[in-house]
Symmetry: C2
DNA sequence: AAGTGGTCTAGACCACTTT
DNA sequence: AAGTGGTCTAGACCACTTG
């Protein structure tokens, strides 16, 4: 009796009713991931507007023919991305702001290329050197043991953007100058099967020395942005230590942070 | 028959065997969280060393009297934190490096206090002002509408560290000068029931103007670290827009990044 | 009181890695 | 072939929020 009233509200009360969601059980893509992608696409296209309620998880699981844990896993992944908010006793909502891309381990080359800046790289040095105490500590190798020093000058539109100095454990990667000139270090690492997993970065500022100013086409004493970074692979082993100098007039770091739950 | 050989290996082959794990079902703390905390503590104290295998999830769930999904949820939370690595067909290992704290939405006050720097704050301005186009866009309010301007000078050991300029939507928070002098803005927000959830930051550098140099006890033209940040609450509404200036000689940003899976 | 998300269980089958 | 994590199910009960 009470049930007969149900279908009338179904699909009308919640924003999700307007969407045609469906999963493909023959696909190798996990069901929860398929659902997450469809929800994300709907948010991206504005079919789910900020503040919209998703409708409860049980109904959604019945409608899709999935179990509730599977639906929850999909929703959780979007909550982790900052696209959805859950409130107990209330429901799941699309967040109000256009907060999108969370922080990623960024590659300067990729960032510039994505911005349509057509970066070029000049390899200044590429040779084995003995590890200084600082480098040895960062890479977890013995002092004075051999590491690879890579020094590069990056330009866009012919103008210098950054002076990049990197140290790598020996034997990790084939560092071909020709390839370095046309791609980024992180891209070469990924291509070599290395999975970058985490990094520790320190960002600061200081005035340019005469030599640095000459390289970067700045005035001596100009404000430069500095970054030191140690990157680790998925087992936590250091794969790279770098000291970078950026022209503050041409570059700034852009971060999207999510508070961890 | 084959079972009799089991107990001999149990607790010996895996590093987990050395730990006395147990959950309290009477506690209001979720079981998966209790387990995650105990594992994290074991890693922190070195009882689980980098590279150690945790042993398979089924054994662990039997030993703790939990279901496998619950054990998985605990392990997953530590994987998300970057403390553990899973490999299909291999097992779950403690990460090799000492990678710890992931990135958080940091508060300068809390950071300085945690570093034992005993920060103090001088409130320079605290008054309603009409929103500039830049501020209006960041906070999602109408141009020229009223917002709160908060300008503070932060010192440690009597020396200036940063000049903080913040804009807040009206009516969001009671900004008492006396409290501002003894705590941080984010702490006041949390105390007022605001849940900070995400932020967008831009970090750059530039040379100090004469006025800024005077405030910060630097030379004119000294390199300063700049940050602009818009912070959002858990529904995605902007709650704060700030423009900060840091003395590069006394402050740098430290980030721990995890590549999102 | 009703509805929501939060947590938990006891299984099942699959994909991948190693032996 | 054996062992591991990856995915998925069909329930259950609890805690919180709202009317």
């Amino acid at each position: 009796m009470a049930r007969t009233g149900g279908p009338a509200r179904e699909g009308a009360a919640t924003a999700l009713g307007r969407l045609d969601l469906a999963v493909d059980r023959g696909s190798p893509v996990p069901l929860y991931h398929q659902l997450a992608q469809q929800l994300e696409a709907a948010i991206e296209r504005g079919r789910l507007a900020p503040g919209d309620l998703l409708g409860n998880e049980v109904d959604l699981s019945v409608r899709l023919g999935l179990s509730r844990p599977t639906v929850r896993q999909a929703i959780q992944s979007l909550v982790d991305k900052g696209l959805l908010v859950r409130r107990r006793g209330v429901g799941t909502q699309v967040v109000h702001s256009k907060v999108r891309r969370p922080l990623k381990l960024s590659s300067l080359y990729d960032d510039l290329e994505a911005a349509g800046q057509a970066p070029t790289t000049e390899v200044v040095r590429n040779e084995p050197v003995p590890a200084s105490p600082e480098v040895a500590a960062a890479l977890g190798v013995a002092e004075h043991s051999e590491v690879i020093l890579l020094e590069r000058l990056r330009r866009t539109h012919g103008q210098p953007v950054a002076l990049l100095c990197n140290y790598l454990p020996p034997g990790l990667l084939e560092l071909d100058d020709a390839r370095l000139a046309t791609t980024g270090l992180y891209r070469m690492m990924r291509a070599a099967g290395l999975t970058l997993h985490s990094a520790r970065q320190t960002v600061g500022a200081r005035s340019a020395t005469a030599a640095e100013a000459a390289r970067l086409d700045e005035q001596e004493g100009a404000a430069l942005l500095t970054m030191q970074r140690t990157a680790y692979d998925d087992t936590g082993r250091p794969v790279e230590y770098g000291t970078h100098l950026y022209r503050a007039s041409r570059y700034a770091f852009d971060f999207q942070l999510l508070v961890r739950g």
